[in-house]
Amino acid sequence: MTAPATVTKGHGREASRRRGPERRRRLTENVTAYGFLCAALVVFALFAWYPVVRNVILSFQEVNFVRGSSWVGLENFAHVLDDPLFGTAWRNSALFTLYALVLGFAVPFLTAVLINEFRHARAYFRILVYLPVMLPPVVVALMWRWFYLPEGGLINEVLGSVNLPTSQWLNSADTSLISLVIVSTWANMGTATLIHLAALQTIPGDLYEAAELDGASIWRRVWHVTIPQTRFVILMLLLLQIVATMQVFTEPFVMTGGGPQDSTVTVMLLIYRYAFVYNNFGAASAMSLLLLAVLAVFSAAYLRVTRGRQS
């Protein structure tokens, strides 16, 4: 009778004696872990979390570096909405995104489907299509500005030599935006093509076999096997591309400066001008907040898609 009691007693005493060091051990573990995390916490706090909050604050302020900033309510938003370029910039960004979807989305997918059928020269295709991604976007923009010259430029020369119609490209408000989309597609399609290609290689061959036994033509096989089987990657790339193209800046900034006749003024270009040309950081922040709201919808959809896939 006594023996078990002592055991229990001794056990209890030991446990309470151990709880102190146990807690201390866990505390040291937490302190060590936060030691490893602290650098990341500092950079995230300063350059990722704080700017989000600050962007909201700034959009309701008049920013003045000398006298300090003051609250102005919705004035920045009113200023931005009153700007005749507001509608132009949103329309141009939306059109750029739309053209980029038609061109920059369909072309990499079809290219990947085609390359995936070839039994030869696959490495050559992969390297070529990815090569422009390695060029800095500024270099791409400057070189295409030169290619696009209506007189003596490479593009018109090539088109003319095979008797195709030439164009004014960047010099005309009708073609300037689509010219920028072509450049951006040329420069960026490598990434999307290679990701599509990797996805295509995961499709089980018997699915095509079965579809063919059912009498499906090649186009119906693309529609009913290839696209459904890679729909996750297609959707992921689609959302990523929308988010990327809505922020387009480098191409219009370097190649056209927004012209001719404001035909290539994009939202990001306008934000840049507000802040660094007109020194109106409040208006720039208000415009950023609007862009953020639009992009957040697509980003949230992207996160849903990718997380849904993982679980």
Binding site: L37, A39, F44, F47, Y130, L131, P136, F249, L295
Partner: protein
């Protein structure tokens, strides 16, 4: 592996004809689309100014001036701007790893309280593209809170914001999660502290994922234009990309083109040498992330 087209079809005469004609057309189209522009650039850099201005243009330079490249290197002072680029990218890459590796290790293996909350807060930043936060981040960099320093025209203005990369931390953490804890326990029994465990066990096992993260970071930094344009207004501090854009309208065309080609060579060369690893890393990173 069976793809869209049945292998047997490719063996029929008609199948073979269609296959080979498609292949030839695709090879031609790819060569025209991706090789001709690069050819036009490199030879354009070797033409004389009057020849460059000619319409119609010459397909092969009538007179070769390879010396244009040496002139561009000297007159445009490209060495300085390449140096700036290397400092900016190299610093941001190393600082990024120094920040992200320990953070991912802590979140994966040390698992502190609120670790998941912190990870969640980091991942939320992925929803907000950095470009859109240009203005508040710029103002933060120009007067860093608490520290009260102005980083404009300092390389740190590029290094620090680049280190706050949630995607890298997430990819690294996911990789570390798959390293069995038994290995770490064994190290602890042998008397290794948390830092020694990370340095001697985790990092050597993680070389492939560190390579992937490095490739993605370096190419993102190399491609970025708007941020260095804004935070490095001092011409002496600018990377080569910002610099070339700034001088584009005041430099003679053949020197500018030679400069563009020279600025493109390092990364294209690295890509051609390591293309297998880079392409594998790219698709692995994107499909897993």
């Amino acid at each position: 592996m069976r793809t869209l087209v049945r292998p047997a079809v490719l063996r029929t005469p008609r199948g073979r004809l269609v296959y080979w004609s498609l292949l030839v057309v695709a090879l031609l189209a790819f060569t025209v689309a991706f090789i001709i522009p690069l050819y036009w650039m490199t030879t354009g850099g070797m033409k004389s100014s009057p020849e460059l201005a000619r319409n119609p243009p010459t397909y092969v330079p009538e007179q070769w001036h390879p010396g244009n490249y040496a002139d561009a290197w000297d007159e445009l002072d490209l060495a300085t701007y390449f140096g700036n680029t290397i400092v900016l990218i190299g610093g941001a890459w190393l600082l990024g790893l120094a920040v992200q590796l320990p953070a991912a290790y802590a979140l994966s293996k040390l698992r502190p309280r609120f670790g998941n909350v912190i990870l969640g807060l980091m991942l939320i930043t992925l929803m907000v593209p950095a470009t859109v936060l240009l203005i508040p981040t710029y103002l933060t960099v120009s007067d860093v809170p608490i520290f009260g320093t102005n980083l404009i025209n300092e390389p740190a203005a590029v290094w620090l914001p680049a280190a706050a990369n949630a995607f890298n931390i997430y990819v690294l953490k996911n990789f570390f999660d798959q390293i069995p804890n038994d290995l770490l326990d064994a190290a602890r029994i042998d008397g290794a502290g948390p830092f020694a465990t990370m340095w001697r066990i985790i990092l050597p096992l993680s070389r492939p994922i560190i390579a992937v993260v490095s490739i993605l970071s370096i190419s993102a930094l190399w491609r970025d234009f708007l941020w260095p344009l804004v935070v490095l207004p001092d011409p002496a501090e600018q990377p080569i990309t910002v610099y070339l854009q700034r001088i584009a309208d005041t430099t003679s065309l053949n020197l500018l083109i030679a400069g563009l080609v020279l600025a493109s060579i390092p990364l294209v060369a690295i890509f051609l040498i390591f293309q297998r690893q880079i392409l594998a890393g790219l698709t692995a990173g994107s499909l897993k992330g």
